[in-house]
Symmetry: C2
Subunit: 173 residues, 2 copies
Protein backbone atom coordinates (compact mmCIF):
# COMPACT_ATOMS: atom_id res chain seq x y z
CA UNK A 1 0.00 0.00 0.00
CA UNK A 2 1.33 3.34 1.01
CA UNK A 3 4.38 2.37 3.04
CA UNK A 4 6.94 3.70 0.59
CA UNK A 5 5.49 7.20 0.77
CA UNK A 6 5.23 7.28 4.54
CA UNK A 7 8.72 8.74 4.93
CA UNK A 8 7.96 11.42 2.34
CA UNK A 9 4.69 12.42 4.01
CA UNK A 10 6.36 12.57 7.39
CA UNK A 11 9.25 14.62 6.01
CA UNK A 12 6.79 17.08 4.47
CA UNK A 13 4.99 17.46 7.79
CA UNK A 14 8.26 17.93 9.62
CA UNK A 15 9.35 20.71 7.29
CA UNK A 16 5.95 22.39 7.53
CA UNK A 17 5.92 22.13 11.31
CA UNK A 18 9.39 23.61 11.71
CA UNK A 19 8.54 26.46 9.39
CA UNK A 20 5.27 27.10 11.21
CA UNK A 21 7.19 27.46 14.47
CA UNK A 22 9.82 29.65 12.84
CA UNK A 23 10.08 32.61 15.23
CA UNK A 24 10.94 35.02 12.41
CA UNK A 25 9.82 33.87 8.99
CA UNK A 26 10.82 37.19 7.42
CA UNK A 27 9.68 38.47 4.08
CA UNK A 28 10.74 35.37 2.14
CA UNK A 29 13.85 33.39 1.35
CA UNK A 30 16.13 35.64 -0.60
CA UNK A 31 19.01 33.31 -1.36
CA UNK A 32 19.01 31.26 -4.50
CA UNK A 33 19.79 27.65 -4.93
CA UNK A 34 22.45 26.87 -2.34
CA UNK A 35 21.27 24.34 0.21
CA UNK A 36 22.72 25.26 3.55
CA UNK A 37 23.37 28.91 2.88
CA UNK A 38 19.85 29.79 1.84
CA UNK A 39 17.35 31.16 4.33
CA UNK A 40 18.07 34.76 5.01
CA UNK A 41 16.73 35.03 8.55
CA UNK A 42 18.00 33.61 11.79
CA UNK A 43 14.82 31.60 12.29
CA UNK A 44 15.07 29.94 8.93
CA UNK A 45 18.73 29.16 9.45
CA UNK A 46 17.84 27.59 12.77
CA UNK A 47 15.08 25.49 11.17
CA UNK A 48 17.49 24.31 8.47
CA UNK A 49 20.01 23.46 11.16
CA UNK A 50 17.39 21.54 13.17
CA UNK A 51 16.38 19.57 10.06
CA UNK A 52 20.02 18.86 9.25
CA UNK A 53 20.58 17.64 12.80
CA UNK A 54 17.57 15.32 12.64
CA UNK A 55 18.84 13.96 9.33
CA UNK A 56 22.28 13.46 10.84
CA UNK A 57 20.95 11.34 13.71
CA UNK A 58 18.69 9.29 11.43
CA UNK A 59 21.67 8.79 9.09
CA UNK A 60 23.80 7.66 12.01
CA UNK A 61 21.12 5.23 13.16
CA UNK A 62 20.69 3.85 9.64
CA UNK A 63 24.47 3.56 9.38
CA UNK A 64 24.58 1.46 12.52
CA UNK A 65 22.22 -1.06 10.94
CA UNK A 66 24.41 -1.61 7.90
CA UNK A 67 25.70 -5.12 7.31
CA UNK A 68 28.99 -5.67 9.07
CA UNK A 69 30.99 -6.14 5.88
CA UNK A 70 30.03 -2.63 4.84
CA UNK A 71 31.96 -1.23 7.74
CA UNK A 72 35.14 -2.77 6.32
CA UNK A 73 35.16 -0.39 3.33
CA UNK A 74 38.67 0.90 2.92
CA UNK A 75 38.35 3.29 -0.01
CA UNK A 76 36.44 6.53 0.42
CA UNK A 77 35.01 6.09 -3.08
CA UNK A 78 33.54 2.72 -2.10
CA UNK A 79 31.71 4.34 0.79
CA UNK A 80 30.30 7.04 -1.48
CA UNK A 81 29.20 4.43 -4.02
CA UNK A 82 27.49 2.57 -1.20
CA UNK A 83 25.57 5.69 -0.19
CA UNK A 84 24.51 6.32 -3.79
CA UNK A 85 23.25 2.80 -4.17
CA UNK A 86 22.21 1.07 -0.94
CA UNK A 87 21.41 4.03 1.29
CA UNK A 88 19.50 5.85 -1.44
CA UNK A 89 17.44 2.75 -2.29
CA UNK A 90 16.68 2.19 1.40
CA UNK A 91 15.42 5.73 1.85
CA UNK A 92 14.12 6.76 -1.56
CA UNK A 93 13.55 3.46 -3.42
CA UNK A 94 15.88 4.56 -6.24
CA UNK A 95 19.59 4.92 -6.85
CA UNK A 96 21.44 8.20 -7.15
CA UNK A 97 21.85 9.05 -10.85
CA UNK A 98 25.51 9.99 -10.91
CA UNK A 99 28.60 10.34 -8.75
CA UNK A 100 31.59 12.44 -9.68
CA UNK A 101 34.76 13.27 -7.80
CA UNK A 102 37.84 15.42 -8.22
CA UNK A 103 39.83 12.69 -6.42
CA UNK A 104 40.77 15.26 -3.80
CA UNK A 105 38.01 14.65 -1.31
CA UNK A 106 35.12 16.37 -3.10
CA UNK A 107 32.22 14.31 -4.40
CA UNK A 108 29.15 15.44 -6.29
CA UNK A 109 26.13 13.15 -6.06
CA UNK A 110 23.39 13.99 -8.52
CA UNK A 111 19.78 12.89 -8.33
CA UNK A 112 17.86 13.84 -11.46
CA UNK A 113 14.47 13.45 -9.84
CA UNK A 114 14.98 13.84 -6.12
CA UNK A 115 11.83 12.42 -4.49
CA UNK A 116 11.51 15.12 -1.82
CA UNK A 117 11.43 17.80 -4.53
CA UNK A 118 9.03 15.97 -6.84
CA UNK A 119 5.84 17.22 -5.15
CA UNK A 120 6.88 20.77 -6.09
CA UNK A 121 6.03 21.97 -9.55
CA UNK A 122 9.00 21.97 -11.87
CA UNK A 123 10.19 25.40 -12.84
CA UNK A 124 12.08 28.33 -11.45
CA UNK A 125 9.30 29.90 -9.38
CA UNK A 126 9.62 27.47 -6.47
CA UNK A 127 13.41 27.27 -6.50
CA UNK A 128 13.72 29.44 -3.42
CA UNK A 129 11.62 26.96 -1.46
CA UNK A 130 13.98 24.09 -2.23
CA UNK A 131 16.58 24.45 0.57
CA UNK A 132 14.20 23.41 3.32
CA UNK A 133 13.50 20.16 1.48
CA UNK A 134 17.22 19.38 1.24
CA UNK A 135 18.55 20.04 4.75
CA UNK A 136 17.34 16.77 6.25
CA UNK A 137 18.95 14.75 3.48
CA UNK A 138 22.25 16.64 3.76
CA UNK A 139 22.27 15.60 7.41
CA UNK A 140 21.31 12.04 6.49
CA UNK A 141 24.36 11.71 4.24
CA UNK A 142 26.64 13.32 6.82
CA UNK A 143 25.30 11.03 9.57
CA UNK A 144 25.72 7.84 7.55
CA UNK A 145 29.27 8.89 6.61
CA UNK A 146 30.01 9.63 10.25
CA UNK A 147 28.97 6.13 11.31
CA UNK A 148 31.25 4.80 8.58
CA UNK A 149 34.12 6.75 10.13
CA UNK A 150 34.23 9.68 7.73
CA UNK A 151 33.80 13.28 8.84
CA UNK A 152 32.35 15.44 6.08
CA UNK A 153 30.60 18.64 5.10
CA UNK A 154 27.50 18.10 2.97
CA UNK A 155 25.67 20.82 1.08
CA UNK A 156 23.01 20.66 -1.61
CA UNK A 157 22.14 22.78 -4.59
CA UNK A 158 19.32 22.91 -7.09
CA UNK A 159 19.65 24.55 -10.47
CA UNK A 160 16.38 23.27 -11.93
CA UNK A 161 13.71 21.27 -10.11
CA UNK A 162 13.65 18.34 -9.49
CA UNK A 163 17.37 17.85 -10.24
CA UNK A 164 19.48 18.05 -7.11
CA UNK A 165 23.20 17.89 -6.44
CA UNK A 166 24.68 16.96 -3.08
CA UNK A 167 28.27 18.00 -2.57
CA UNK A 168 30.25 16.00 -0.04
CA UNK A 169 33.58 17.47 1.02
CA UNK A 170 35.85 15.25 3.09
CA UNK A 171 38.71 17.18 4.66
CA UNK A 172 42.09 15.47 4.31
CA UNK A 173 43.10 13.88 7.57
CA UNK B 1 18.40 -2.75 4.29
CA UNK B 2 17.06 -0.29 6.78
CA UNK B 3 14.04 1.11 5.00
CA UNK B 4 11.45 -0.39 7.32
CA UNK B 5 12.96 1.36 10.32
CA UNK B 6 13.26 4.74 8.63
CA UNK B 7 9.80 5.80 9.77
CA UNK B 8 10.56 4.76 13.34
CA UNK B 9 13.87 6.65 13.42
CA UNK B 10 12.22 9.73 11.99
CA UNK B 11 9.36 9.50 14.47
CA UNK B 12 11.84 9.26 17.36
CA UNK B 13 13.68 12.36 16.13
CA UNK B 14 10.43 14.23 15.71
CA UNK B 15 9.36 13.49 19.28
CA UNK B 16 12.79 14.42 20.62
CA UNK B 17 12.84 17.65 18.61
CA UNK B 18 9.39 18.73 19.78
CA UNK B 19 10.27 17.99 23.37
CA UNK B 20 13.56 19.88 23.06
CA UNK B 21 11.65 22.94 21.87
CA UNK B 22 9.06 22.55 24.60
CA UNK B 23 8.82 26.05 26.11
CA UNK B 24 7.99 24.70 29.56
CA UNK B 25 9.09 21.14 30.14
CA UNK B 26 8.13 21.32 33.79
CA UNK B 27 9.28 18.98 36.52
CA UNK B 28 8.20 15.80 34.71
CA UNK B 29 5.10 14.18 33.37
CA UNK B 30 2.89 13.48 36.30
CA UNK B 31 -0.03 11.76 34.65
CA UNK B 32 -0.12 8.03 34.28
CA UNK B 33 -0.99 5.97 31.33
CA UNK B 34 -3.64 7.92 29.47
CA UNK B 35 -2.49 8.96 26.02
CA UNK B 36 -3.90 12.36 25.29
CA UNK B 37 -4.52 13.48 28.81
CA UNK B 38 -0.98 12.95 30.06
CA UNK B 39 1.52 15.77 30.01
CA UNK B 40 0.87 18.06 32.88
CA UNK B 41 2.23 21.31 31.44
CA UNK B 42 0.93 23.53 28.69
CA UNK B 43 4.10 23.01 26.65
CA UNK B 44 3.79 19.27 26.74
CA UNK B 45 0.12 19.41 25.86
CA UNK B 46 1.02 21.63 22.91
CA UNK B 47 3.71 19.21 21.75
CA UNK B 48 1.28 16.30 21.99
CA UNK B 49 -1.23 18.31 20.01
CA UNK B 50 1.37 19.16 17.34
CA UNK B 51 2.34 15.48 17.03
CA UNK B 52 -1.31 14.48 16.83
CA UNK B 53 -1.85 17.06 14.10
CA UNK B 54 1.10 15.80 12.09
CA UNK B 55 -0.19 12.26 12.44
CA UNK B 56 -3.64 13.39 11.34
CA UNK B 57 -2.34 14.93 8.11
CA UNK B 58 -0.12 11.93 7.34
CA UNK B 59 -3.11 9.66 8.01
CA UNK B 60 -5.26 11.75 5.67
CA UNK B 61 -2.60 11.58 2.96
CA UNK B 62 -2.22 7.83 3.37
CA UNK B 63 -5.99 7.51 3.29
CA UNK B 64 -6.13 9.31 -0.03
CA UNK B 65 -3.84 6.70 -1.54
CA UNK B 66 -6.06 3.79 -0.57
CA UNK B 67 -7.42 1.64 -3.36
CA UNK B 68 -10.72 2.97 -4.61
CA UNK B 69 -12.73 -0.06 -3.53
CA UNK B 70 -11.69 0.65 0.05
CA UNK B 71 -13.61 3.89 -0.05
CA UNK B 72 -16.80 1.96 -0.70
CA UNK B 73 -16.82 0.41 2.79
CA UNK B 74 -20.28 0.69 4.16
CA UNK B 75 -19.92 -0.77 7.63
CA UNK B 76 -17.96 1.09 10.27
CA UNK B 77 -16.56 -2.21 11.50
CA UNK B 78 -15.15 -2.94 8.03
CA UNK B 79 -13.29 0.34 8.09
CA UNK B 80 -11.84 -0.41 11.52
CA UNK B 81 -10.78 -3.88 10.37
CA UNK B 82 -9.10 -2.28 7.39
CA UNK B 83 -7.11 0.06 9.66
CA UNK B 84 -6.07 -2.85 11.88
CA UNK B 85 -4.85 -4.85 8.92
CA UNK B 86 -3.82 -2.82 5.87
CA UNK B 87 -2.97 0.53 7.43
CA UNK B 88 -1.06 -1.07 10.30
CA UNK B 89 0.94 -3.27 7.93
CA UNK B 90 1.72 -0.29 5.69
CA UNK B 91 3.04 1.75 8.61
CA UNK B 92 4.34 -0.81 11.10
CA UNK B 93 4.84 -3.99 9.04
CA UNK B 94 2.53 -5.91 11.36
CA UNK B 95 -1.18 -6.25 12.01
CA UNK B 96 -2.97 -4.99 15.07
CA UNK B 97 -3.40 -7.86 17.54
CA UNK B 98 -7.03 -7.43 18.45
CA UNK B 99 -10.09 -5.32 17.79
CA UNK B 100 -13.05 -5.12 20.14
CA UNK B 101 -16.20 -3.05 20.06
CA UNK B 102 -19.23 -2.37 22.19
CA UNK B 103 -21.27 -2.03 18.97
CA UNK B 104 -22.15 1.49 20.03
CA UNK B 105 -19.38 3.37 18.29
CA UNK B 106 -16.49 2.56 20.61
CA UNK B 107 -13.64 0.40 19.34
CA UNK B 108 -10.56 -0.77 21.19
CA UNK B 109 -7.58 -1.66 19.00
CA UNK B 110 -4.83 -3.48 20.86
CA UNK B 111 -1.24 -3.88 19.73
CA UNK B 112 0.68 -6.23 22.02
CA UNK B 113 4.08 -5.01 20.87
CA UNK B 114 3.57 -1.53 19.50
CA UNK B 115 6.71 -0.78 17.45
CA UNK B 116 7.08 2.84 18.58
CA UNK B 117 7.18 1.69 22.21
CA UNK B 118 9.56 -1.24 21.63
CA UNK B 119 12.77 0.81 21.93
CA UNK B 120 11.78 1.63 25.53
CA UNK B 121 12.63 -0.87 28.18
CA UNK B 122 9.65 -2.88 29.29
CA UNK B 123 8.49 -2.14 32.77
CA UNK B 124 6.68 0.47 34.75
CA UNK B 125 9.48 3.00 35.16
CA UNK B 126 9.15 4.44 31.65
CA UNK B 127 5.37 4.36 31.53
CA UNK B 128 5.08 8.10 32.03
CA UNK B 129 7.15 8.69 28.89
CA UNK B 130 4.74 6.69 26.75
CA UNK B 131 2.16 9.36 25.78
CA UNK B 132 4.54 11.29 23.55
CA UNK B 133 5.18 8.13 21.52
CA UNK B 134 1.46 7.60 20.99
CA UNK B 135 0.15 11.02 19.96
CA UNK B 136 1.31 10.82 16.33
CA UNK B 137 -0.34 7.44 15.87
CA UNK B 138 -3.61 8.60 17.45
CA UNK B 139 -3.60 11.35 14.82
CA UNK B 140 -2.72 8.87 12.09
CA UNK B 141 -5.79 6.77 12.89
CA UNK B 142 -8.03 9.83 13.15
CA UNK B 143 -6.72 11.18 9.82
CA UNK B 144 -7.18 7.91 7.95
CA UNK B 145 -10.72 7.60 9.37
CA UNK B 146 -11.44 11.18 8.34
CA UNK B 147 -10.45 10.46 4.73
CA UNK B 148 -12.78 7.46 4.85
CA UNK B 149 -15.59 9.78 5.90
CA UNK B 150 -15.66 9.01 9.61
CA UNK B 151 -15.18 11.66 12.28
CA UNK B 152 -13.70 10.21 15.45
CA UNK B 153 -11.90 10.82 18.71
CA UNK B 154 -8.83 8.64 19.18
CA UNK B 155 -6.94 8.22 22.44
CA UNK B 156 -4.31 5.74 23.53
CA UNK B 157 -3.42 4.08 26.79
CA UNK B 158 -0.61 1.88 28.02
CA UNK B 159 -0.93 -0.34 31.07
CA UNK B 160 2.32 -2.26 30.55
CA UNK B 161 4.94 -1.60 27.91
CA UNK B 162 4.97 -2.41 25.02
CA UNK B 163 1.25 -3.28 25.00
CA UNK B 164 -0.84 -0.40 23.74
CA UNK B 165 -4.57 0.18 23.35
CA UNK B 166 -6.05 2.73 20.96
CA UNK B 167 -9.62 3.71 21.70
CA UNK B 168 -11.62 5.03 18.77
CA UNK B 169 -14.92 6.70 19.62
CA UNK B 170 -17.22 7.52 16.74
CA UNK B 171 -20.03 9.86 17.76
CA UNK B 172 -23.45 8.79 16.48
CA UNK B 173 -24.49 10.93 13.56
Amino acid sequence: MADTVLFEFLHTEMVAELWAHDPDPGPGVSAGSRGEEAGSTTGQKMSLSVLEGMGFRVGQALGERLPRETLAFREELDVLKFLCKDLWVAVFQKQMDSLRTNHQGTYVLQDNSFPLLLPMASGLQYLEEAPKFLAFTCGLLRGALCTLGIESVVTASVAALPVCKFQVVIPKS
